[in-house]
Every structure is written in structure tokens, then in C-alpha cells.
């Protein structure tokens, strides 16, 4: 930190000023001139929180994608299909059993199993042939998409959040100050989104801990760096591969339930989330969990902000971020060149 300030004094100043301005925008009550030019503070805060929670969802999908890519060099373009399968299964389980929470472990196991089968029967047979694996995953995504369209039809489904997560909750953020009485009005935000954000952070931290503090994590990190050498030193690398693929797939499935709870599930969502994870991983850096979190946050917030303040060009904003990252740092913000 001190080193960074010493080496780049100008950049540090700019970053500190930006962070201060951002904190002021979030915490302070906006003066009337700002409200006149930017709209009410509530809109800004809602867009920001919407972006962060969307980023949390993107992170859950992209984390599995980036982990699988980092370790096995498989660009699994069927990842979006796993997301949608998880969502549909979660819907079925939640409506059949009436328990939203029960859907999570069941979907994690079932979709994880699908991932295990894909890795065991298909991808492991063509190890090292990256392009062929990618083509196979495209074929799988076409087949999955049509099977799901066949079974669940073209209508959109929405998973109902349980009672204790419904309704808004008050956040310690000033939304507005009543001019005549001086009373502070706090921001109210849907509780389920806040809890999903918390859950994503917990999962992210847990993944980081597993990767950096356990033997399994050590094996995975070693495999990302040099899998031949890891295999040569006696590790049964195929079991590590299976575990990572199953975990990544299960995570995508769980993300499907969450996506179905705060948005909706319909054919085409698979490609949408596949593309979101592609962009997140390209921006954040391929194979890096922290990069996926950073990329998801940037893309989620950019998408929501663009949606609120420049509706016609929101997709262009996301794309420009990706293009800028590719132009100046092709390996992604936190990626390493290999």
C-alpha cells in the first residue's frame, strides 16, 4: 500500500478522490442541485445496489466457469445450460415440496452430477484438445436447450421467495431527508436480494479459503499452474478435475435458483448468463476467483447504471468495458499471462 502510494503518487490521489466522491454520493444526503441534474438519490442507490446484487449472481455463475477454465482449459460453453437446468429443477422442487431452501442442496447435487458425468464421459476423453472440447460443449448446449424447451416449454417461470425473505428491509443508507421536519428517511430494499448478496459473499470467501488454506486448494492451484508436473508428482489429477467440474456445475445450478428467484427463467436465459460469465471472466481475468468477483461487480454495476441512466446504450457500456480491458490488458484485470 505504502509502496503503491510512493510509486504512483498521482494515481493514488486520483483513486482516493474518486473513492471519497463515491462514498459521499452513497452516504450523504444529496443537495438539490445534484438532484436536479441526476435525479433522486434513491434512484442512484437502487441502481447501485441492483448492480451489486446482479454482480453477486454473475459471480456465482462465473466462478464455476473460471475455475473450470483455469484448471482444465475447458471453455465450457454449456455452462449457461447448467444454470438454466438448475433454475428449472429448483422451481420444480420448490413448488413440489414447498421449501425454497431444500431446493439448494438437491439442485447442487443433481447439477453437480450432470457436470461430473460430462467431465467423466466426454471431456476427459479428449484432454488437451481444447477446441474440440469447446465444440462439444457447444453441441451439448444446443441439445440441452432444446430438451429444456421440450420439457418446460417457452413460458417464463418465477420461483417464489419464502415468507421470511419477502418484503423490504431498511438499510443504514440515507435515501432522503425530509426538508421540513429534518427526519432522515432510510433506504428500503428487497430483503431477498440483500440475503443473496450476503450468501454470495460467504460462498466467495469460502471458496477463497478453500483455495488458499486447504490441501485440496493447494492441489487445484498447483494444477492451474502446471498440471503435467502435478500429475507427475503422484496426484490423481483426474479426481481433482472431477471435483472441480462437479463443484463448478453445482454452483451454476444453485445460481439458477437464485436467478429464478429474483428474475425469471425462460429459454434464452442460458445464453444470457453464459455471455455474462464470458464477459465477467474476460474482464476479471481467466482462471482467477478474485478476478471473477471483481469482473462480476464491474459488469453488474455497469449494466444497472447503464440501464437507469442511458437505457439505449447499456449494452454498449458493458461491451466498451470489455473492449477497453482487451485493448490494454488482454489477460484481464487480475489475470496472469501464460
Amino acid at each position: 500500500m505504502d509502496n503503491f502510494i510512493k510509486r504512483y503518487p498521482l494515481w493514488s490521489l486520483i483513486i482516493i478522490l474518486l473513492v471519497a466522491a463515491f462514498l459521499w454520493l452513497v452516504l450523504a444526503s444529496w443537495p438539490p442541485e445534484l438532484v436536479a441534474s441526476w435525479g433522486r438519490k434513491q434512484i442512484f442507490l437502487n441502481a447501485l445496489l441492483g448492480g451489486i446484487t446482479l454482480g453477486a449472481l454473475y459471480f456465482l455463475v462465473a466462478a464455476g466457469f473460471t475455475l473450470i477454465f483455469g484448471l482444465m482449459r475447458i471453455v465450457n460453453l454449456a455452462h449457461g445450460s447448467l444454470f438454466l437446468i438448475g433454475g428449472y429443477l429448483g422451481y420444480e422442487i420448490a413448488t413440489a415440496s414447498g421449501s425454497w431452501l431444500l431446493a439448494f442442496p438437491v439442485v447442487f447435487i443433481v447439477v453437480g452430477l450432470i457436470g461430473l458425468l460430462m467431465q467423466f464421459f466426454i471431456f476427459s476423453k479428449m484432454e488437451g484438445e481444447e477446441l474440440r472440447q469447446t465444440l462439444v460443449s457447444i453441441g451439448l448446449s444446443i441439445v440441452f436447450a432444446d430438451l429444456m424447451l421440450w420439457w418446460w416449454g417457452g413460458q417464463s417461470y418465477s420461483i417464489l421467495a419464502p415468507q421470511f425473505l419477502q418484503g423490504p428491509m431498511e438499510l443504514p443508507l440515507v435515501s432522503n431527508v425530509n426538508a421540513s421536519t429534518g427526519a432522515v428517511i432510510w433506504l428500503r430494499y428487497p430483503a431477498v436480494r440483500i440475503w443473496i448478496l450476503v450468501a454470495a459473499i460467504v460462498i466467495g470467501v469460502a471458496m477463497w479459503l478453500v483455495l488458499n488454506r486447504t490441501t485440496l486448494g493447494m492441489l487445484i492451484r498447483a494444477g492451474v499452474d502446471d498440471r503435467e508436473m502435478l500429475a507427475a508428482s503422484g496426484v490423481r489429477i483426474h479426481i481433482v478435475f472431477l471435483a472441480v467440474f462437479g463443484f463448478g456445475a453445482g454452483l451454476a445450478g444453485v445460481a439458477g435458483i437464485i436467478g429464478g428467484t429474483f428474475q425469471s427463467l425462460s429459454p434464452g436465459e442460458d445464453t444470457r448468463f453464459l455471455l455474462a460469465s464470458l464477459v465477467v471472466v474476460i474482464v476479471g481475468g481467466m482462471g482467477s476467483i478474485v478476478g471473477a468477483a471483481l469482473g462480476a461487480l464491474i459488469i453488474g454495476v455497469a449494466e444497472q447504471m447503464g440501464f437507469v441512466y442511458a437505457p439505449t446504450y447499456s449494452i454498449v457500456l458493458t461491451f466498451l468495458i470489455m473492449a477497453a480491458v482487451l485493448a490494454f490488458r488482454p489477460q484481464g484485470l487480475l489475470g496472469t499471462r501464460r
Binding site: 481444447e130 477446441l131 465444440l135 462439444v136 424447451l149 474476460i282 454498449v316 461491451f319
Partner: protein
Amino acid sequence: MSVVDQAPRFASPVDQRMWSERIPAPWWIFGLILLLLPIVANDFWLFQVLGWTFILGMIGLSLMFLAGYGGMVSLLQMSIAGMAGYMVAILGPSGAANVSLGLSWWIVLPAAFLIAALFATISGALAVRTDGIYTIMITLAIAAAFFYFTRQNYSVFNGYSGFNLVLPPKLFGVNWRDPLPFYYLSLGCAVLCYGAVVYLARAPFGLALQGVRDNPRRMAALGFNVTAHRVAAYALASVFASTGGILLVWQNAQIAPGTIGVSSAIDVLVVAVVGGMRRPLGPFIGAFIYVLLQVFSTDILGFFGFAADRFKLIIGIGFLAIVLFSPDGVLGLWDRWRAGVAARKAATTGGGA
């Protein structure tokens, strides 16, 4: 996959024959059949089946050029075709009179090719910043961004509804959308594109590109600019894709974001892979199979007792089967069958005597 290990087939330097004599006889027969086909085929076959085959084949050909000779599997080619098609609709006359400029064809066509080439060059320059498997991810992301952009933007791309009534100019008093003229138009364009790729593959640029595909570091050490060759390949491939895209707009008389969606981008890849990405003929064969399956899906699926809308399932399973069992496509199957026949012949005649 084996897209990357084709040895360039040189024309022998001592070959003094005329160019027409170097083309083997089966090709002449095949060409004659294609030329005389309108005598027997009806309008539906000429316009829908074969016209569409040539168009899809040309777009697939641009992917084959990039993937087979350049080692860059780009999912962008449908977007480039769509960009050219959109430009024809935007600059020329169309049903959406408030957006279209209605310029005449001799401005519209060069401009469409130029803008599509510019789009391809810029996207290509972004995509070649990284190489290998990343290309597929980046081009897919760019293709999707273009799709969503055309859907959101109403001032230029007319948003969700797109453009309809985009008709080809009535050049020489011919209505080029009539089945017979359109068949010959698309056949002519396809032959030109095919010939161009065959020529390019043996031209210095094509050989350098194949060198870049096989060993970029060695080529760089020899003084070739690797990045420039790759970006130039994107720009060149855009010409084939644009030709296909413009013909596609004329055939359908309309273009909308759905034409260039992610699934269409993947269809182009399916076409090229199923046909085989090692030779320029592959995409056309793949396109023919794809179009036949699409057009006759009702009958085929009905035969197996499925509903007609399971077309994508058939395509997906067929694609999976090809990728799993014959990575170099239908042409690869054909090559192996011929090699097998030749080996058996050699065995029966006593070792190739």
C-alpha cells in the same frame, strides 16, 4: 482438433498445363450439373434450398478461411454478414422509410462491404490480442454485444423490428429475387468466393497465414508481422461473409436482430464443422446438409415420431456426433473412406504395383 495440421497443397512448379486442364474431370461434371440444374429442379429447390445453401456456405467459408488457414475459430462471421446486410437495408431503400436513406445500389454495395470490413478489422484486432481458445470466447461476446445493440438501437438499426422489403436492385431489367436469377446470382458469388479462397490459400499471403497458424513465434522470427497477418485475415474473410450477408437480406427481403442472434452465430460454426474445416468445399457441404435438415425437418422428425419443432435437437445431436467421431467433418469421413478403399486395392493388387 485437426483444423491446425493441414499441409498446404502446393501447385507443382513444373506444372505447365493451362489452368482449365488442371481442374480434375469430376469438378467439370459437378459444375455442369450445377449450371444445368434449373432444367429439372423446381423454384423451391432453386430459391430456398440451394440459394440458402450457397449463402450459408459463403458465411461458413469465411469461418473456414479463418479457422482452417489462420487457426482462429471466430463466431463473429454471422455478425459481419449481418452488418453488411444491415448496411444494405439502412443505406438503400427499404420498408422502414424513416430510417433507410434510399441511396442507389452503386453507393450502397461498396459502402456495405467497406463498413463490414471495418467492423471485422476492429473486432479482429480486439480478438487477436489473445490467441487460441480465447478467440472463441471474445468473438462470441462481440457477436452477442452486436446482437443486443441492434435490438436496443432504434435510430440506426430500427430496433426489434429491423427492416423489411429490402429488395435487390433491378439491374439489367432482371428481378434478381426471382428463383432462377437468384440461383445463378448466388451460385456465381459462391463460385467466386470459393475460387478466391482456393487462390488465397496458395498465394504468398495465404502461405504466410498458414505459417502463422502453425508456428507464430517462428514466423515472427522470420520477420513476418503475426498480428497484421491475423487482422488482415479477418478483413479478407469479411468479404466472403458480407457477400453472403447481402444475398441473405435479398433472399429474405428483410433483416432483424434475430438474423444475427447467438444461435445463428453458432449455426455458422455448426455448418463449417459438420462439413469440415480443412478444405473450402467443407462449409458448402455442411450448409447443404444443414439446409436439407432444416427444410425437411418436419418429414424427417415425423418419420421418427417426433414433433416438427425438435429440429434443433437433431442438429445438436448430429453436431455432437460429428465432433466426437469425425473431428474433420463429413469431408474427413470421405477422405478416410477413400484412403481405406485405396489401401484395400493396394492390398489386393499386391502392394501398389
